[in-house]
Symmetry: C2
Subunit: 252 residues, 2 copies
Amino acid sequence: MNILVTNDDGIDSPGIYALAMELRTIGTVYVVAPDRQQSAVGHSLTVSSPLRATPFNREGELFGYAVTGTPADCVKLGISTLLDVQPDLLVSGINHGANTSINILYSGTVSAATEGMMMGIPSMAVSLNTFSYQADCRPAAKYATRIAQQMKDFSLPPGTLLNVNVPAIAEEKIRGIRITKQGTGMWHDTYERRRDPMGREYFWLAGTYHPSATEQDTDDAALFDEYVTVTPIRFQLTDHSMIERLRESCKS
Amino acid sequence: MNILVTNDDGIDSPGIYALAMELRTIGTVYVVAPDRQQSAVGHSLTVSSPLRATPFNREGELFGYAVTGTPADCVKLGISTLLDVQPDLLVSGINHGANTSINILYSGTVSAATEGMMMGIPSMAVSLNTFSYQADCRPAAKYATRIAQQMKDFSLPPGTLLNVNVPAIAEEKIRGIRITKQGTGMWHDTYERRRDPMGREYFWLAGTYHPSATEQDTDDAALFDEYVTVTPIRFQLTDHSMIERLRESCKS
């Protein structure tokens, strides 16, 4: 099995290293990842400037290609140009920080998996529920590998990918896997209004996240309960329930 | 009616000017837009650096705030911090280039409307089916204004926004409005492999878009037929059809 691995924390992050090492136990791993941290880039593509891809070493051996672009750029460039094999599977992560509820929209980690899915590759995103770079990523890497092995059995339809979140606790404390739906948690946004050394005003985003506490079967709820969550997601965005109503409104 | 206007082509683009001028006939318009062109930024947020907002003049009068960020940044910063009124409506555009099918995912124009919707504001994105900055944006501005006037009648549910695309033809040739679904058109990606003056290799994205020619009732098809398309979209991403199947697979 040929596995393409990417992320949005950058090719030098602990998460992608733990993931790539563990996935090597089940296949040949190709890493194509951003050369630096790409937070909240969403599904950005680099169209107005060129990309560069540079071989990147870790632990004294070639680890993969570092790309001067976004996670979605890495997937497009990797599959179309850099790799001489077609991947059987794409795994994006391990992200430092959960990607649940509305965060899926802002997530570079998920967008890389979305790009892979759009290019016809079975794809999954994997995130760890902590922003700490000191966290142990190996339990998440093991779960990701276990789910990766099952991807064929799942026979995901074209257009659907898996979004996996892992609690940041010791492996033996993880209570198992839950199949979940996307929660409805939201951010309450504030901007801190500051002044620079020249006295000029600037703004810095400082939101707080409010998970949907009451909903059942959501990614947020199951992650809080210390389960690994697996959410099948797809980007078919039409609100079919509104189509007839809008047609009526436009007639009148 | 207080109307927040933003875009992703930048506050100096012809599209946002035509839109703001026309919307002034039905309400008070507040412009908060990126200070420069933001192509294919998707739903990016600026979290690792601060934002600045500067008053921006056009035709000798204050036009709005130019922000050093993405379309989604402009909406968050505008609604939470810059404006002293809560907008009744958000209109993002007029984008130069259609946002149909999969392009909705890459679109900064749509992501601004998505951000507005998430903040509880009735929101729409408007795009013109040409990349030419010389195109006449007034027909699109008039249709956008007409649809904006009807937004209350539509009573969109929370979580749903409108994605509008306008053919780049003379107003009298436009055949009317069609309520459509998101098409399944795709990009076939290639990267041009080039060498810089130092002899080092770089890559530049050069894809071609393939609209879904055969589908009925899609944004791509109706736009091709010279209709203004209105697609209700929402970002509820769970693939519910897969949940039971995954639960069965994970048991075995």
